[in-house]
Subunit: 584 residues, 2 copies
């Protein structure tokens, strides 16, 4: 049996080795401290209306749906309508000793969705707080609440005619902008390292105090949204990947729409060519030829982008047989890897950058393509004229995919790039895909693991040497993307897509993830972010000093331990933590 | 009498209204807890050698020299040689109850130099810790200790032939790289917002524990120097502009030397033209035409760049009479403002950017100049041939100034731009200037105030409307620079240069600073950084929640309150603080 790298929380009423207990049996987590929970629910309903407090099984089931092998079901769901509601919710949580798990919109795909990291928490769903409070076109920023989705903000910018683009992730139009930023997610544009393009947080601390960071805590400071640091220590980082407080408002910087945009795509035929390509991309990033996040996806990311697993053609075998993988590559006209990035600027700047990209990435077994919105429009007109009609359809579909990619780089979110989550889903892509893509509700099995590595071909080869045998041993297809989150580091996103309706495959996915997690950490490729299931382990692997410092700061900001116990915080997994076993 | 906006610390043995007590009378701060200090000195000497522990008056005098109207003299100076020494120093400080004020190299010009914000502290001078531990040319970073000066790091990069440039500030070759970063200072290149170009801190906490931030606290994490955030909350910001710990090691990102570099300079003739120029610069920055920090200096910055106050020509009057100011402008061939920035990239990129700068900044009463190192070389050859020899000398001097500016943008630090500090110095610029520029040792009077404002012409006009009358009322010349620290904010650096040998002028400078401080804060232009004299006031002006949060975190990291009490921390100014009156 494979060693479990993470320790389960000592949750009363649930057997730590029986994952069904927490996820599937609501009664198991309701047996303890029912009275305290009941009192909290009564007070929350009195404070901001019964319509926004849910503890019916159907609602809890919906929130508990996850792409992970297992997730923790919440005790209840509370949906505040504004800052005052959040403060009231926190005060009540403290009075009753019931922990709150804040979610922005709960679309934390592949990392736990809306599920708390431990049982016995009440979800604080900030989805109703979806106001766009300000858009400043001159200084290129917006001030938004956590319930604002990327689709809504992008749509609003379009509606008001603002020449500003939102950096979007591939998580789909419905994902929260704030939620992703707080998880330090990354997008595709020059503003892709999103946490660096934020100015001023409003945070409700665990004891109900409201903190404004940066210049925001000075009366009338004019620079709150344009310069992220006020005088004195910078506190903002404490509220990302943490449980130090509940972020209720964020200033988000927006990219001024450039005069010109060109997408570059480089198809890399041979897998052995990846190292030199990574080194070339690093040089492009370091020299400032390319300012955007460059994504380098493998063939499986491309194959899975338009279809689910071809079980028939594979003769029932998993993972994809090598010959079939090769055949699908050929059918799609792709190679082993695909490099993709955006060039932004004036026409002259984009032309200059294009020349640099060409010089760096062209090669005998590579194909370099430049796409602009204008060029796509021309191609679409030609495709419609193509004969026979079948060819026209195929061309149009392929152009649609290219247009999705270009649009994503120009501030228009799409669910298209969630397709990898559906790879092993029975019944194929659902009807609503990609417009209504929701991997958790659609029953997908998805685990993401995102180790960070130096941006060198050598590191990439080393990482591949570690992960490929593990995927093979567990019989999963390796879907992998490498993203240049900055000029020096790569974030590898390793996808384990599995059939969640198959208990044996789900167990294999679980084991595969845990083995991968151990292996990449042991090799020094520590993830930049983890899912709900790895919170205890990732913190346990750090130094005791770091752990103690984080725990001590947590105690000062949330003495009752009511905010998201267990989220990037090992304290909740100790028996002496105030929230441990509080409710349950 | 002008109201004193800052509260003085209740220091035992010094009358808060008599600034001479702390600065000039060593006995006054030595009367209390002399036994505890003596014990600490004994233990420090035993721990790392008597040669590195100083309490002789001459040494303390030297460290107490400051460009401010008054500074706090330290009780002693301790000079650790490495991490273990720092840990030992902190443990002894705790055991004896003697606070330590860490300095990197003590060149915090205009903000207090090496002086602690309160009396009764022992300076922990990290200047001996000057190792360059690593230079990674592939990933473009260095790992350095706080004692490394910008001159030394730049020289080392040149010596090893690394094609990497250090972002330099105008503080001169002798200033610490780490010290400036921790104060969130800014330079001139695309890496000018220096605190964003750092990865991984090593910090000795107030109780002697050693914390490594980011990925650094994971064993063997490969991304420590390339990605600044490990999983979990970001702690780095806590150790900038704070007294939470003593930073002993930093990973600093370096700019890969570009294929091409061009300096642009725009002379703006009319003061009323500044607003449109600021708006144009903002658009250049926001659209990514210019990636570097753009500095916009007024005529007084230029006039003071090559000479001290022309007392004779002014007929003994201060400030500079309008007619003389106009005459000096004409002699130097400058206008009301000078805009200066760097274009970095490939030849094609720089050419494209140059076109954008030209389109944005050219105008009827402006003069736009582009300088490249190659063009300067050609001009220097021509200047040497000029006749008469006097003309050749003048041309060469002017070219030298231009070369300093270009060099600074290309990673070569110079003390030349400290000249403003010497403006009112009697006896003119000293012989060693600029190579050995040291405004504190050279007896300059200098106060810097650095309010942040939105990057708009309107904000700049508003700020000028506030500060100009205050300078006039206090009879000082307004030396002013506006720097585009990012794409949306401007950092105004207001210089009060005064004759420190003139007690009346020193008092006027003090009053002018305090009036300015009040006025800019009241108008919402809060400084990004303050001098030792404003620590209590800047924190007192923030919200109580922010203040309490900072104080609570401080208590968890430094329970004995031994690290730099009073540095961006109002707790030290309260009577219940452990370090308050501890030693003295």
């Amino acid at each position: 049996m494979i060693r479990r790298p993470w320790r389960r929380p000592p949750a009363a009423g649930s057997d730590p080795d029986d994952r069904a207990a927490a996820a599937d049996d609501p009664e198991a987590v309701r047996t303890v401290a029912q009275d305290r929970l009941a009192e909290a629910l009564r007070q929350w309903r009195a404070a901001f209306g019964a319509a926004h407090v849910h503890d019916a099984a159907a609602a809890l089931d919906r929130y508990a749906r996850t792409t992970l092998p297992h997730g923790n079901r919440a005790l209840a769901v509370v949906r505040p309508g504004g800052l005052d509601d959040v403060v009231a919710a926190v005060r009540i949580a403290n009075a009753c000793g019931v922990p709150l798990y804040p979610i922005s919109r709960g679309r934390n795909w592949g990392y736990g969705d809306a599920c708390p990291p431990t049982p016995g928490q009440v979800i604080l769903d900030l989805g109703r707080m979806d106001r766009i409070l300000e858009v400043n076109e001159e200084l290129a920023y917006a001030v938004i609440e956590p319930g604002v989705s990327q689709g809504r903000l992008a749509g609003h910018l379009r509606d008001i005619g603002a020449a500003l683009w939102l950096d979007c992730t591939g998580a789909g139009p419905d994902a929260s902008v704030v939620g992703n930023i707080l998880e330090r997610g990354f997008g595709h544009t020059p503003y892709g390292n999103r946490v660096q393009f934020v100015s001023g947080l409003e945070v409700v601390l665990g004891d109900g105090r409201v903190l404004r960071t940066g210049f925001g805590h000075y009366d009338c400071a004019t620079a709150e949204r344009v310069y992220p640091y006020g005088p004195g220590p910078i506190l903002d980082g404490l509220f990302t990947q943490s449980n130090m407080g509940i972020v209720t408002k964020v200033g988000v910087w927006l990219l001024p729409a450039p005069e010109a945009f060109t997408q570059f795509i480089c198809l890399v035929h041979d897998g052995e060519d990846l190292g030199p390509v990574v080194d070339a991309v690093r040089r492009l990033r370091l020299q400032g030829a390319v300012h955007s996040v460059v994504h380098i996806g493998n063939d499986m990311r491309l194959i899975s982008s338009s279809r689910t697993y071809p079980l028939d053609r594979a003769g029932g075998a998993v993972p994809l047989p090598a010959a079939l993988r090769e055949a699908l590559r050929r059918e799609l006209g792709v190679g082993a890897w695909l490099v993709s990035g955006g060039l932004y600027g004036s026409r002259g700047q984009v032309a200059a950058a294009r020349g640099l990209v060409k010089a760096a990435l062209k090669g005998p077994r590579r194909k370099l393509i430049f796409l602009s919105p204008e060029r796509l429009d021309r191609a679409a007109r030609l495709a419609r004229l193509a004969r026979p009609a079948r060819l026209a359809g195929a061309l149009t579909a392929r152009l649609g995919r290219a247009r999705d990619l270009v649009s994503l780089h120009c501030g228009v979110p799409t669910g298209q790039f969630l397709s990898g989550a559906y790879w092993r889903r029975r019944g194929g892509l659902p009807d609503g895909f990609p417009a209504e893509a929701d991997p958790a509700q659609d029953g997908c099995g998805l685990l993401w693991l995102a180790p960070v590595l130096p941006q060198t071909g050598e590191s990439v080869r080393d990482l591949l040497g570690i992960v490929e045998p593990i995927y093979a041993a567990h019989r999963f297809d390796l879907l992998m993307t490498l993203a240049t989150i900055n000029e020096r580091a790569l974030d590898a996103v390793l996808t384990i897509a599995f059939d969640r309706d198959d208990p044996a495959e789900t167990d294999r996915a679980d084991a595969c993830y845990r083995t991968l997690f151990e292996a990449v950490c042991a090799a020094g490729y520590v993830p930049y972010r983890v899912g709900a299931q790895s919170m205890a382990d990732i913190t346990a692997r750090g130094s005791p000093v770091h752990r103690d410092v984080v725990a001590a700061i947590k105690r000062t900001l949330d003495p009752g331990g009511v905010v998201a116990p267990g989220r990037y915080d090992p304290a909740a997994f100790r028996s002496d933590h105030p929230a441990s076993g509080a409710a349950p």
